[in-house]
């Protein structure tokens, strides 16, 4: 198969969120001798880009995003070790620790944010829902994150976002992480009040904010 056709099949498989097809396409590409980095940059990344664009136009929704992200992650599990073995390094945009704060069980917004961050090349550590403030910090320290992203839907749970910042201060590590907040009841005013580094009104804002935050830190991983 011509290289272009290979890249096209990778792109479609990602857009369709077909994990098995993606893995098969990756396997075929590797057998053809295509470099892992090219598989990612020329085949898979354009697929993810199109997924993001379709999502922004409301042509597709969360399930398609999650499935595309799953297909992506499955492929990366195969490709990343090959890149490392060849002495290379996969360029990651950054690392994000993500979660819904303590007392809050809403997850859809968080899941969308997670998918969009992955599509933007971030390594995402999703802690799930009802996550105590200190757990965000502990995980961020453990994985060397760049960004902590905390979601809170309710007015009675958004104070936990402030709590995260207080825990960071208590451990003397506030300066190491950009803290982004979002979710139903949160506002820019609230983010300013608690000293967060960014506020996302929509899930789509999260990736843009995270990219800016990492750039400000002066490092892409």
């Amino acid at each position: 198969m011509a290289k272009e056709a290979v890249f096209e099949s990778l792109k479609s498989a990602i857009i369709d969120g077909e994990r098995d097809k993606t893995l098969a396409a990756v396997d075929a590409a590797l057998k053809q001798g295509i470099a892992p980095a090219d598989i990612i940059e020329k085949g898979m990344s354009p697929g993810m880009k199109e997924v993001g664009e379709k999502f922004a136009r409301y042509e597709i929704y969360l399930p398609e995003m999650m499935m595309a992200a799953e297909a992506w992650e499955g492929a990366m599990k195969v490709l990343e070790p090959k890149i490392m073995a060849a002495g290379g390094e996969r360029k990651k945009t950054g690392k994000v620790v993500l979660g819904t704060v303590a007392g809050d069980i809403h997850s859809i917004g968080k899941n969308i944010v997670g998918a969009m961050l992955k599509m933007s090349g971030f390594e995402v550590y999703d802690l799930g829902i009802d996550v105590p403030a200190s757990h965000f910090v502990t995980k961020a320290e453990e994985v060397g994150a760049d960004v902590i992203a905390a979601s809170a839907l309710m007015s009675t749970t958004m104070t936990q976002q402030k709590n995260i910042i207080e825990h960071l201060n208590a451990r003397g590590v506030r300066a190491k992480y950009a803290v982004l907040v979002g979710g139903g009841s949160t506002t820019q005013d609230w983010a300013d009040q608690i000293g967060a580094d960014g506020y996302g009104r929509t899930a789509g804002d999260a990736a843009t904010l995270a990219i800016k935050a990492v750039a400000k830190k002066g490092g892409k991983k």
Partner: protein
């Protein structure tokens, strides 16, 4: 006294600390410091110490330890600190003569001192986990029929129509509701409808379960029992229960189960921490009674020599200095329908009463074997408690030593005793064998130690 909303504020905004740091960098070093400073040492030869100066040193050690350590809120990972003035303020505003129960069943919680003649408060019923709902009704009824029973510690059902009760789940909500309904029915059948239930809601773990169950009893006389976490820790769930009680006339039993072999270390540390819990129970739990029970880390019996010593020493310290009455609870390691369980109950109850405490009669076999319950051991213990009010600690110490000699060596491998169906008959009352053993043990206590029992139960 500090307001509860201020305590909540501190739980949400106090200084941040990890649990590990609280335990090993704050709690343990602070305790070791005061044990040394005040020369608090365990004396195994005298399970009931009789040294007022020693008791006072334990108290001072405890207050100093509490001011330096504070409490730890698990959910927020923050410390709740109190000043000496705030603790003194709490001690000065402590409860006085709380009335539990209603109508003819109303009983006043006494404040007692070491060697006090004042009759102790006695609550219990001797049931832990039970498999059938009718057992709850019958056991509660039997215990409530004793005129010396001032309150009820309700049993705990283990299943809802065959579905196991699982904490945090709907079966626990339904289990809590049923428990209180069954307990109330047992009291009604005993002709004691106004008797207080002091451990609401048995079967419940989480705040949602307690609060749900509470709705289905009699809020005037059903009181939540709220506990802290070993040691000097609390979580939002417990604070939520307390907040709920603030809107009601709840006379909370503030439970502290200090562990020998846990963070408080040996008996000396445990005695100090038990005393330290007393103002905590006022300031944080907003209790009407402190409810301590000391257990060793490996098995939950309270009748071991070191447990008895720590209980006696701790109780003497706090009863000499605080208005908050202490109702000590206890378990036997032997199961029901064994002489050993009777000896064990007698030992810790005597130590409790002569050291200034009142009693909540607990459960045989550490409350861990389903359907292995009282209540005859509890009724016996009621009698013991009243019989030793006013006795000197020295005299009581001799009795306890003699009792320890009868059972101490069997604690590691105690007899399991019999389950409910083997000592209750078809008329829903204790059977002949059960009553015979109960009477035999009363006679033994009377003959060997000169204890005089009152005839207040239908069983003699």
């Amino acid at each position: 006294m500090l307001s509860f909303s201020e305590v909540v504020y501190r739980a949400l905004n106090g200084p941040i600390c990890t649990e590990r740091d609280f335990d090993l960098a704050i709690f343990v070093p602070n305790l070791r410091k005061v044990l040394q400073k005040y020369d608090i040492k365990y004396d195994p030869q005298n399970p009931i110490p009789a040294d007022d100066d020693f008791a006072d040193r334990i108290w001072e050690a405890a207050m100093e330890f509490l001011v330096a350590t504070g409490m730890f809120c698990l959910d927020t990972e923050r410390r709740i600190l109190f000043t000496r003035e705030e603790i003194e303020g709490a001690l000065q505003t402590g409860p006085s003569g709380s009335v539990y129960g209603d109508g003819k069943d109303a009983r006043i919680m006494p404040r007692r001192y070491p060697e006090d003649k004042t009759p102790p408060w006695c609550s219990g019923c001797g049931a832990g986990p039970v498999s059938k709902e009718e057992y709850v009704i019958n056991i509660v009824k039997t215990y409530a029929e004793d005129a010396l029973s001032d309150g009820i510690t309700a049993p705990c059902i283990t299943n809802v129509d065959g579905l196991p009760v699982q904490a945090g789940s709907p079966t626990a909500i339904e289990g809590a509701i049923r428990t209180i309904i069954l307990t109330r029915e047992g009291l009604r059948r005993a002709g004691r409808p106004g008797l207080a239930v002091v451990n609401e809601v048995a079967s419940a773990i989480k705040a949602a379960e307690h609060i749900a169950g509470h709705r289905f009893g009699d809020p005037k006389v059903d009181h939540l029992e709220i506990g802290l976490i070993h040691e000097l820790k609390i979580d939002l769930d417990a604070l939520n229960k307390i907040m709920y009680t603030q809107s009601l006339n709840n006379l909370t039993f503030a439970e502290n189960g200090v562990i020998i072999g846990g963070y408080a270390g040996g008996p000396a540390g445990v005695a100090v921490v038990t005393a330290a819990y007393n103002p905590v129970d006022m300031l944080v739990v907003r209790g009407a009674a402190q409810h301590p029970f000391i257990v060793p880390i490996e098995k939950g019996t309270t009748s071991r020599r070191d447990c008895i010593w720590a209980r006696a020493a701790g109780l003497q310290a706090l009863s000499r200095h605080s208005p908050l009455p202490a109702v000590g609870s206890g378990y036997s390691s032997a199961g029901p329908m064994t002489k050993m369980s009777y000896y064990e109950f007698a030992a810790w109850v005597i130590a409790n009463v002569v050291s200034g405490g009142s009693c909540e009669m607990g459960v045989p076999y550490r409350g861990v074997l389903i359907d292995h319950c009282g209540p005859m051991e509890d009724i016996f213990a009621n009698g013991i408690a009243h019989a030793v009010a006013g006795m000197s600690r020295k005299e009581a110490n001799k009795i306890v030593l003699a009792l320890l000699a009868k059972y101490e060596d069997k604690i590691p491998d105690p007899p399991t005793g019999k389950p409910y169906p083997e000592y209750y008959d078809t008329t829903a009352r204790p059977n002949k064998e059960c009553i015979a053993l109960y009477r035999e043990m009363r006679k033994e206590m009377s003959d060997e130690f000169g204890l005089k029992f009152r005839k207040t139960s239908p069983y003699g």
